[in-house]
């Protein structure tokens, strides 16, 4: 899995988006198989995707499959949060770390859903992880970590209570 672990601003959180199954997890199919526990370690600040060959191929599947353009609904945004949460559960956060924030938005020309998890580390610093989710042709929403060099250190306007959010910027990197 790829992880963008920016040390961002107001230091509130860290983020990850990943696959959770939960109710409404898929459009037609059980999505639990799309949650791959080996993806990501859940501990903020580590970019394991860059070194783990088993994870490096995730983004090969970065484009939605299927004949029809996917139109993501607001419920899908929440579903992407659920999926992200499931992935995190497969690999607990580092000791003392707290997951404080979820952000979910339509990304990549609305072809994907970007998800960001904000994590406060035990030392009170903040970290973030980013993933994206999309429906495959089989109706299953799968979430992958992001492997985009430009995302490293990407400011995350969504994060931080005192920062006025700007939902435009975080979408562009996708």
């Amino acid at each position: 899995m790829t992880i963008a672990s920016p040390s961002f601003l107001v230091g509130t959180l860290a983020v990850i988006a990943m696959g959770v199954t939960g109710c409404g997890a898929s459009r037609g199919d059980d999505d639990s198989s799309s949650v791959r526990p080996e993806e990501g370690n859940g501990s903020p600040g580590n970019d394991d995707g860059a070194e783990n060959p088993a994870l490096s191929g995730e983004n090969e599947d970065s484009e939605p499959k299927g004949d029809q353009p996917v139109v993501y609904t607001p419920e899908d945004l929440v579903e992407a949060m659920r999926k992200t949460l499931l992935k995190i559960k497969s690999k607990p956060l580092a000791e003392g770390a707290q997951l404080l924030q979820f952000s979910s938005w339509k990304a990549k020309g609305d072809k994907d859903i970007g998800v960001e998890l904000g994590i406060r580390l035990a030392d009170q610093t903040d970290s973030a992880r980013n993933l994206f989710c999309h429906f495959h042709g089989d109706g299953v929403m799968a979430c992958h970590s992001i492997q985009a060099p430009g995302l490293a250190g990407n400011p995350q306007p969504f994060l931080g209570e005192s920062k006025s959010p700007d939902p435009v910027d975080p979408i562009d990197p996708f």
Binding site: T12, L100, P167
Partner: protein, 112 residues
């Protein structure tokens, strides 16, 4: 102008997931020292989404393109934001949810 909204995420409505997290039992309060879990935040997002839909209508609802949920430091409240409309306009509805009565989170819109 955004219509002023408020809603209450009662223990009953949240119990499905909050009970799982052990926060809200059957009508129970958020126990001392317990905080909102990530699961709670996600489900609170879902509840707020439905409230947004019922209050602002289908058109605004269909234009939602981003959702953020941030837990407060104490862990007994959260801020929900629903972005909708044209992205360039960055219009969003904000709700602040906080436990006032045992087992219930009162959510009120925060004017943009």
């Amino acid at each position: 102008m955004l219509k002023q909204l408020s809603f209450r995420a009662a223990a009953g409505a949240l119990s499905g997931l909050l009970a799982v997290a052990g926060l809200f039992g059957s009508g129970a309060a958020l126990a001392d020292g317990e905080i909102l879990t990530p699961e709670n935040l996600v489900e609170l997002s879902a509840i707020g989404l439905e409230e947004f839909r019922s209050e602002l209508g289908e058109e605004a609802y269909s234009q939602i393109y981003a959702i953020t949920t941030l837990r407060n430091e104490d862990g007994d409240g959260a801020t929900l934001k629903y972005y909708y409309g044209n992205r360039e306009d960055a219009v969003y509805a904000t709700f602040f949810c906080h436990e006032h009565d045992p087992g219930e989170l009162d959510c009120h819109e925060v004017p943009q």
